[in-house]
Symmetry: C2
Subunit: 266 residues, 2 copies
């Protein structure tokens, strides 16, 4: 009984775990949780967006107690051992599987502590902001009521988090977080979170991301360090982005309706 990953490639922490295993040559079985069939969503397209904006961990009703009593993705089963929460999964795999290079999760206690610190910070900052923003900005596409205050609050947390990454976590001349010249699990986790912004309208994405030049370069560095797996695992998200672009273009008015009050608030 080898390592089983219960994942959805549209969920950002699922992608981080998948890319990590592929980049480190770890054998695993990818168990795709077929959300469409289970949630009986229709039309299929709307279901896809719903998945892509749902948080950090993804509630899957039928994942069941056998795998994860909280019914969320990603989850893993390694022999008889079950685990969820993506950061914990990344740390476990980096520690338990031979052949993972030290830079992903260094044995040195101070380096390791700094990586924990970034990962802890992630939850209530970058992740929290990105999830609130995406969920609310895409509400009209999901057929949900638009909560402009929530979207504005999410955008504020998201932009503040990107500034902290730019000015604090990416300080120095390194290519990765904490001034490192090689990536860690924290780089992968945070970059996958930011990649979720790809499904935004191009103008929104650029407005939020483009002022953060170091962040953009760091995303490229992480992509390069894990190629070709990074793009292969993100391929489903790129397809969704393409589908949504057509929607945005066809529905300029709706877009305008969302953005005007947001811009005026910030």
């Amino acid at each position: 009984m080898g390592l089983k990953l219960y994942v959805d490639r549209l969920s950002q922490p699922s992608r981080a775990v998948l890319i990590f295993c592929k980049a480190n040559g770890i054998d695993f079985e990818e168990i795709k949780v077929e959300i469409f069939k289970r949630q009986h969503l229709s039309p299929e397209f709307e279901g896809t967006v719903m998945i892509a904006v749902i948080p950090t961990t993804l509630e899957i009703k039928s994942l069941g107690e056998a795998i994860n009593p909280l019914q969320k993705l990603p989850a893993i089963v390694d022999g008889n051992f079950k685990l969820f929460e993506s950061h914990s999964i990344l740390i476990y795999i980096a520690s338990a599987f031979p052949g993972v290079a030290n830079h992903w999760y260094p044995a040195d206690l101070t380096k390791r502590a700094k990586i924990h610190s970034v990962l802890d910070w992630h939850h209530l900052n970058l992740r929290h902001g990105a999830v609130i923003y995406l969920r609310n900005i895409l509400a009209p596409i999901l057929g949900l009521p638009l909560n402009q205050e929530a979207a504005a609050e999410g955008e504020k947390i998201l932009i503040s988090s990107l500034s902290i990454i730019e000015n604090i976590w990416l300080q120095g001349n390194g290519l990765y977080l904490l001034g490192s010249f090689q990536p860690s699990i924290a780089d992968l986790s945070l970059v996958c979170e930011i990649m979720q912004l790809e499904i935004l309208d191009e103008k929104d994405r650029d407005r939020i991301l483009s002022p953060h030049k170091k962040v953009l370069q760091w995303i490229e560095n992480t992509r390069n360090a894990t190629k070709p797996h990074f793009d292969e695992v993100h391929n489903l998200l790129y397809k969704l982005k393409k589908n949504l672009s057509a929607q945005y273009q066809a529905n300029g008015m709706m877009e305008l309706k969302i953005k005007t009050p947001l811009t005026s608030k910030l």
Copy 2:
């Protein structure tokens, strides 16, 4: 240059770190960040409440880049090494200082992974719910506008988190989280979070906590495992509780005004 802890005993993660060090006989210097003087808050009492409901990490403008560029508590300095985020601090101290019993942060990879999983879950569940709820329910005392929707949302997340602790994390016959018979850093972190509810009006506290019998017993178990340090470190919170009780009694109408819409929403 020994271990320095930059803490405020009214901040829940600061207390977790303090109790952990005291319970494990670790030498440290407690550097109390004197928030009153720096924030120039007046009257002093209101300042105290403000501190007690501010999140997980506490923003201290004057903490400065030398200690923590994000200017938050708790933070530590160990020789030349600086660290913040309470979970990361607990893990670092448990790993770097001799004499910490294995049960606090087990060397076994699967046990350790489960503790990471609880700690990761904490951020966007128990901590998130408790902070939103406390900040909003105490808004009138802080002279801030009451956001009933936010308070109701915080209470919902908080109660859901307590149910998950009761039914999932405290499953089995153990005395602590994950069915353990000895406490880990996760017990201390989560219990200190819940202890912040002590500053609520007694009726609110009981309404939220009393249905969770296992949670109440587990708080007692954690208190017993770390005595006398647990109560000694919480003493400032108990004093605040006493002061606030008098306020609640003197201001029954305000209390009623907060609770009615909350109850009707949930």
